[in-house]
Symmetry: C2
Subunit: 373 residues, 2 copies
């Protein structure tokens, strides 16, 4: 693993392309957009901890973006936490964006609960449980993809590079299903916000989904939006459309963990040139996760660099954050990619340590005052 | 009327401030956002020609932004026209933005019919007929204002100056009502898309609205959002919030005709410092309209410069566009301000003539192919 980057990040794949990406983006302005969505798949007990209970997972994406934009949540009384009380990675995202003075926007793939912030509607809807094999109407998936492409085109005119994050509980399970449907061997390779990755449950859900959709592994390779319609979620077409639209003009950081495998595999089918202008931005915690394999997923798809922010919460005084060092949460809301973008824009002046300090301060403020400054 | 500007525009008010504004914005990048909304007020026969029939006026704002973003309409089969078939000023907006390669976004104050494009939801709703005296719930107005302020803040980080346009049929009537409610003498001063400005009808509607709302002229001066809730429309709080949020960081062109009087009068009450960073951007046709008085409205509110694009369609081969020279349409969808922004960004290289040529070409393409390139 080579690393001579001028920022606190590891080049975890395609090190030369990663360095070239960093060099091109260094000192440049970015815009951040968070794609949010929900799916009934997150109600399956044990599938996700992105919320204190399965029912609360539908509030997590809107609450995440409320926190990023406002420093407090409005649709729930406090920031999203796991059942153990470990806070959302939106803390990292907000700190990184605030330090960078970067614009932040919200794009909705499809939601049950709407955020009480400005948000960009892309014509989508909340997704069904993928076990039905009918997650989203096919025309909705196409419409969201096309509108997101248009949005990506417009946003590319307003920044030097674009950072796209996501928040969707159970998103790794739907990503697994979509990747298998388009022909990526993703079994046992997606990550989890839990240290004990429930691979068996995810695989059972995905097998049932594929069976009910009449999909064999790889049978959607020529029609990847059909995979999303059958066994995907509303974030995927929005995210892929944004990358497809923006990457014609600017560099794009696809900010996330193993779900980015689904994004890249769709791009490969729909807009292969886009892969030339994309890097995955993630966290050290994803790379170090022995229960998943982001690099192994990406290598199957294309030569896309992976940058991982060397975030470290081991020295933080906040117990909730120290859990990140024990394999909880790891990534989400574009946390890793936002941190990398902040480092890039500031030419490395904003360090991983500076971000961790800011997160710690915000977390303390949340606990004492109920909001971050 | 002084005019030594390096662009094809007239400084119609506060010439020194206008020149300073132009100097500061020259060569800079802008973003364009169109605020759209609808109100049942537009269904009153004779009040507006922003649509081929009163019923079609609810389609005009979504169709306008579809045309700006896509070069074609989706919610109706062709671009919005007056009952005489005169086309929407969105033609000017699209031409100006396209020539500038500027980002364009859509913000929704409240609509009956949604555009088939990405659009930013601000938590608003379609407005009621103001004659009821209850146009919009008070909490909705405040929510839209606050969310728009947040959006303005984010957009200000992504551009050097912001151009805000609007599309709402019957918008001059609701603007008249709001201006009177906050204490501006606006009677007989608002413009119309018709050469025969129906001042009598507008005044009757507004008097009925104020009577049913229990509002005396000026009685809402200390609570301007109450005026919007009683006798306004969903575009006003969104537009005002955007200006309030963005003008803390960047210059803002409030792009429109006499409706901008309502915007400025609310800013004066809610965020008076914002008036220092705002110019109205409009068209020559508004200035030359003897049936309305934009300058007279603005002078009552504050020292805000007015820039009017010297657009001229008298030589165009397209008959529909030549009607603009006979007092039809005049302004809308931020046409004048977009044209000025295009001139500013290009340091005058994009001339009024160049924009008129582009509009003519797009209009020909619309007629022959059904879309603009």
């Amino acid at each position: 693993m080579s690393n001579q980057l001028p920022i606190d990040a590891i080049a975890a794949n395609e090190p030369e392309k990663a360095r070239a990406f960093v060099e091109e983006a260094l000192g440049k302005d970015f815009a951040y957009v968070c794609v949010i969505g929900t799916t009934d798949t997150s109600l399956i007990p044990g599938i996700t901890v992105a919320g204190a209970s399965p029912e609360l997972t539908t509030y997590t994406p809107p609450a995440d973006v409320e926190y990023v934009l406002l420093g407090r949540c409005r649709c729930i009384p406090a920031v999203p936490v796991t059942p153990e009380g470990i806070p959302t990675p939106a803390l990292i995202t907000r700190a990184s964006i605030k330090l960078s003075n970067a614009p932040a926007l919200v794009a909705v793939g499809g939601l049950k609960v709407k955020p009480k912030t400005p948000y960009i509607n892309l014509g989508g809807e909340h997704g069904g449980d993928i076990r039905t094999g009918r997650a989203l109407p096919r025309e909705t998936v196409s419409e969201v993809y096309e509108r997101a492409k248009l949005l990506g085109r417009e946003l590319s005119k307003a920044c030097d590079f674009l950072v796209i994050g996501e928040s969707i509980p159970a998103g790794t399970t739907t990503a697994l299903a979509v990747m298998v449907a388009v022909g990526v061997d993703a079994w046992g390779k997606v990550s989890s916000a839990m240290p004990n990755n429930p691979h068996q449950l995810k695989s059972e859900v995905v097998r049932e989904a594929l069976r009910n959709a009449g999909i064999e592994p790889g049978s959607c390779a020529d029609d990847p939006l059909a995979a999303v319609s059958s066994v995907g979620d509303p974030v995927i077409p929005a995210f892929v459309g944004l990358v497809a639209g923006a990457s014609k003009e600017v560099l794009v950081i696809a900010a996330g963990g193993t779900q980015m495998g689904a994004v890249l595999s769709l791009l490969k089918g729909l807009e292969p040139d886009a892969l030339e202008n994309v890097a995955i931005g993630t966290t050290r915690w994803i790379l170090e996760d022995s229960s998943s394999d982001l690099v192994g997923l990406v290598k199957q798809i294309g030569r896309v660099p992976i940058l991982a922010a060397k975030l470290d919460f081991s020295q933080t005084s906040a117990e909730g954050l120290r859990y990140y060092e024990r394999g909880f949460v790891k990534e989400g809301v574009g946390a890793g990619g936002s941190a990398i973008a902040a480092m890039l824009k500031s030419k490395g002046e904003i360090s991983a340590k500076r971000i961790a300090y800011e997160v710690e301060r915000d977390y303390a403020s949340l606990i004492t005052k109920g909001y971050a400054e």
